[in-house]
Symmetry: C2
Subunit: 269 residues, 2 copies
């Protein structure tokens, strides 16, 4: 892919402040970024929105809403309130979508947790629609069910979008989370017109912590070129996020990580 | 479940020799074991077969055949030869089935690796059928695609069994590998009459190594009782294997691990 197709997800270089990420993107000719909410919080949403608007950078997504599940009503209510704020933040910074991480598992009740996710999305959807902020359901890798997401496959994310049935609801395709799925190609085709965000990193072993073991693009075994072709064929035309959650790469100088990630983005993805 | 429904998979207490595992099972009233091949190799297959026969213990499975994939023809041929030996060993010890671990991924070619798995099973099937040794395809957790198994869901295992189409071919249900799947219940129903082996452990986080992070029964978030009911409803009537691959529990005295695992098997599974 080309640098002009790239978006830097800020978690990849999480030691950088928002100003630094913007400057790095501009200096390297990268047209887009995708911030996490904690990064916006460090400067405040209004100031973050101004900085991003002035930069001219596209915002491919805001990460993240979701996390609707909780063992009690107070917890679920707090999650809804937090999601409404996330929609406002995404609107303020002009994000293309708000990513929803749909979990985690409560107790041992997968079906109940999934029902909470559906109810949560249905509850915040009117506010998102009024703000014209698309919601993007992300299926996370099945190794993250216990602590992050009970939505585990692209097919399951699409089933959930279907049952809720709103033009303001779509999906994320994160290659790291879905690459292994024997039904991936057919589900990407099924997602045509509903892919709101596409993210790349690579699968490397061993897994040392299910959340932050991702590999540098090109270091692992995901056929990113093939997945990118499928996603493009399904109509997704926006920039592709580099999202590498990695204890290993977080310990390296962020400028060097970006150099390598962008080089690999061009040569290997 | 009851102790009379239990089988001790030897990897759970891998520091024990075969003689010790047999004695522990007999002393505790456990009616079955499931050895790994490396354990048989320590005494030789003939001696192992004699020891097991004399003990009167049932052998719920032999772990493992499979691992059919390789980057070249010589590697694939060696895998076939090894699988033929595994069938003979399973036959010698009177195992109820030979477990097939179907992978790992070769390069970045998931489809090609899956095709190698199918070809491998088709090649060894006549020998297994002649030996009346059922082959049990095991879907492993999707976090093990790169290094163990390209068969990732019970549905995929059943699809593979369907396309090969032999009464001598069935599946393993290992709760740790499949518990997260939104389609699990329907696929267990679909597997009715073809479940050759059922294994339990628990899901705990963090994952510290994708192969050996399993939790003690009852310590994690898998609804083992519900899965066990589904597997029983689908007609599996044999003993249930306790299979805990765990750096944590391997570091504990094996007698203590067995005490706790059996207590939990009765109270929590």
């Amino acid at each position: 892919m080309h640098l002009s197709d790239c978006s830097i997800n800020t978690i990849t270089v999480r030691s950088l402040g928002l100003r630094a990420v913007i400057d790095e993107a501009l200096a390297r000719g990268v047209p887009a970024i995708a911030p996490w909410r904690d990064l916006l919080a460090t400067v405040g949403t209004d100031e973050a929105a101004r900085m991003i608007r002035d930069s001219g950078l596209q915002v491919t997504s805001l990460c993240r809403g979701g996390l609707f599940t909780a063992p009690d009503e107070a917890g679920r209510r707090a999650a809804i309130e937090d999601n409404l704020r996330a929609i406002d933040e995404a609107h303020a910074i002009g994000a293309d979508c708000l990513v929803l991480v749909c979990g985690p598992l409560v107790g041992k009740d997968l079906a109940g947790s999934r029902a909470m996710v559906r109810a949560g999305i249905e509850e915040i959807l009117p506010h998102a629609t009024a703000a014209r902020m698309p919601l993007a359901i992300e299926a996370l890798h099945p190794m993250m069910v216990a602590d992050r997401s009970v939505i585990t496959t692209l097919g399951e994310a699409l089933d959930l979008a279907d049952v809720i049935g709103s033009p303001n609801l779509g999906v994320v395709v994160d290659a790291y989370n879905v690459w292994w799925d024997p039904r991936l190609e057919e589900q990407i085709r099924r997602a045509s017109g509903r892919i709101l965000c596409f993210q790349v990193s690579d699968w490397v072993v061993p897994i040392t912590g299910q959340l932050s073991s991702r590999g540098m693009i090109g270091d692992g075994c995901i056929d990113l070129s093939a997945i990118a072709r499928s996603v493009r064929a399904a109509g997704y035309a926006g920039p592709v996020e580099i999202e590498i959650l990695s204890d290993r790469w977080w310990s390296q100088p962020p400028g060097r990580v970006l150099d390598l990630a962008l080089e690999r983005f061009v040569s290997a993805a």
